[in-house]
């Protein structure tokens, strides 16, 4: 079987880092939001959980920044195909629905990345503001605003990420191997990223 490389080893690693740190942050975040004392079984106590949350935040932020090099340039290129993709609901609305050939990332993936990047940066910035409380004239305002931003971004991500996981697993069997080997079967790729496959010379 011919395979085609979709992600470098570093990309794979970084994606895992991002994913794992996100999971830690999201779970502990939920813990804080709803005061889930059951999580003490995992984290020990809330103080430990806060520390883990804070340091996971650093990892997450660093990882997120690295993704910029991987996904941002391609995510910013929008064209007619992308519009058509959206018009056809990404081909997910029925078994028959078809989408135009897509490049390396389809329109949904591009949008997803931009949402994740923006909300990720927002959640990181606001998180650091709450954590480190820089010297500003009105620290209370800053903390209140940061708290708001942190939670809006969290809401966005907590909706987007599960969909992303679903689409990358159950909805599209075979996708997950990108996160493992970095390669995909050519046939698989042709079906989903025809334009990109052609560009790659297959």
């Amino acid at each position: 079987m011919t395979v085609i490389r979709k992600a470098s080893a570093f990309e794979i690693l970084n994606h895992w880092v991002l994913a794992v740190s996100f999971l830690i942050l999201a779970i502990s975040g939920f813990g804080f939001l709803f005061q889930l004392e059951q999580l003490n079984a995992v984290f020990g106590n809330f103080n430990a959980m806060k520390n883990i949350h804070n340091y996971a935040g650093i990892v997450f932020t660093a990882s997120l920044i690295l993704t910029i090099f991987h996904y941002l340039p391609v995510s910013l290129k929008f064209g007619a195909d992308d519009i058509a993709w959206f018009l056809n609901g990404g081909g997910y609305l029925s078994k028959k629905s078809k989408v135009p050939p897509q490049d390396e990332l389809n329109a949904g993936q591009k949008l997803y990345y931009i949402v994740i990047l923006l909300s990720g940066l927002a959640i990181a910035a606001s998180g650091f503001a709450i954590w480190l409380r820089p010297q500003v004239p009105d620290i209370r305002k800053l903390v209140v605003l940061s708290h708001l931003v942190h939670n809006i971004a969290f809401d966005l991500m907590i909706i987007a990420v599960p969909l992303h996981i679903y689409l990358a697993t159950l909805a599209n069997p075979g996708t997950l191997r990108i996160m493992i080997t970095g390669t995909v079967p050519l046939e698989w790729a042709r079906k989903r990223h025809a334009k990109w496959v052609r560009k790659m010379g297959y």
Binding site: L145, Y166, N172, K191
Partner: protein, 252 residues
Amino acid sequence: MARKALLISPELCIGCRGCQTACKSWNQLPATKTVNEGSIENPPDLTPNLYNKIRYVEMPSNSNMVRWLFVSQRCMHCDDAGCIKICPAPGALFKTKEGAVGFDKDKCIGCKLCVAGCPFDVPRYDEKDKVSKCHLCSDRIAEGLEPACSKTCPTGAIRYGDRDNIIGKAQKAGYEKLYGQVDLGGLGVLYAFKDSPKIYGMDERPQIPETVVFWHKVLKPLAYWGLGGAAAVSLLHYLVIGPKKDEGGDQL
């Protein structure tokens, strides 16, 4: 148990600061090295080791050379407490059965969100980054004693008792509406002001920051509805439409 409250009557306060010392004494709070900055108000603001302080306000007067007001400043023990609302650590801030807002330094995670959530700028953080503030002497009142401040007050400017009772008494004394009677679900520290609360350095209408309310009412539910929704949509899609099958042929 009936909700307990303090009634603070600046009209009766003589600014002697017995309450300030009594508070420190009961709570064994260390002193801060201060300097006189041109006022007898000292320390100039609440600190992690100063739960209650007298604010001195000098202002112009028509009948006298000056008006000099004294008012006790401390945690208001809101019914609808912004600090508790926003606090992420279970048990770090809590309501006692008397209605006081207590705190547990061991459980506090030092995030300081309570500082942001408090409409009165009350919570302070100690050197270990733990919340610190007036707790209505919750250890005393749990034993049926009154708080150290009201116990010490020589003139009755700080009175302690059942909240309803206190309100009734104040109304009889001619205070139709007390500051804090209805605000924030009713404060646990009520003020009998003869003038606008503003001149005593208080907000006319104290409020939990709107964003905190928005977060509490919208964002917080959205987090689990969002997560649940995303999962549900995925499941539904999987069951109804199913995964993409490669045998479906090439893309166009």
